[in-house]
Amino acid sequence: METFSYRHKAERRSTGSKAQAIIGVVASGNLEVLVERVLPDTECQVEVSTPITGFGSVWEAVITDFVERRSPGGLKLSINDGGARADTVALRLAQAVRLIEEEGR
């Protein structure tokens, strides 16, 4: 099992007031993302746990791109990976932020 932890500065605080959200499942080619509003407004942390080793640079690229696009300030995102491709990872990260920003679900 390989684990990574990335800490980024975000432009602004993620909107909404929900404390947490979760999306996806740990299955082949899929992953789950747990997102929690636990950090200072301009901090963002992404933790990855994956059984597929040797893809650290791809994870880093996908997560850097995600932080730039979504500005998930204040959020900690924890990933359990089931061997998802980079595009699936990007999709789930975007879904996770959207879920925690949405009201009433």
Binding site: M1, Q20, I22, V25, E32, S49
Partner: protein, 307 residues
Amino acid sequence: MTSTPFVRHNAPSWYEASARERVRGLLDAGSFKEFIGPEQRETSPHLGIFDLPRQFDDGIVVGRGKLSGKPVFVAAQEGRFMGGAFGEVHGAKLTGLLRAARDAKSIPVLILFDTGGVRLQEANAGELAIGEIMRALLEARRAGAKVIGLIGGRAGCYGGGGLLAGCCSALAVSEHGRIAVSGPEVIETNRGVEEFDSKDRSLVWRTMGGKNRRLIGGADAFVDDTIEAFRAAALFLIERAPAFGLDVLKAEQARLAERLNRFGACADGLDIWKQEGIVDAASVPGMSAEDFTALANRIREPRYDAR
């Protein structure tokens, strides 16, 4: 050339939904409160040894909520994480929920089964969990709680899950739901392809599928593959399912003995359906849920004095 009009299916499918989506759609909007949620990270202590990824909820969502304004406990297995299989933590969450129901006495429990059985990587802990759940389930029923199983997920309800389903007060199943202990591949591996050809999908569904289970009394309600239909069935079965006591157990024993007597010699689901008086038995697998339910109710009303 004629074109088929585009039909939009708005009703969310039970089969396609995740465990969390099923719970959200089943209960009254916004009423669900999770116990030991994913943020607590109570993951399997065994999977890491095999370098296998964990899931934050260990593949089961448990909590309480409201169904048509009344409190219920609910547990939902995620069939896509390790085939919804029971491990140590997964099992302990269900045991705890059933013990809460036992202590509360009158609050019904909905178990959304979606499981291949016990997780092989933590087999001993998983088997023990099944035993503990079974005891907790029966204690909850004895204390006065109805326990309703809802089955229509991609993993079906197999192994220890099949045994637990047999302990419930009542079951609702959809076409996609399959209920059995040994799965098709397991039977074929142990007894040979002559006994059971696991690649014959039609045979699998004729034997373990929702329609056959409803016709032989293995499930009490047959429902369409929608979250809405499962919700209606859950409400109905909470009302109709029997209480638990010696009379019910005796009636269940009589029901099972009679079933064995009637169908024990049948080699195929088709033989059973013919014997039940369905003239065109071969048409059963293709029937819509509505037509099938009407037929099943005409052939044999579900019994609410047994289980």
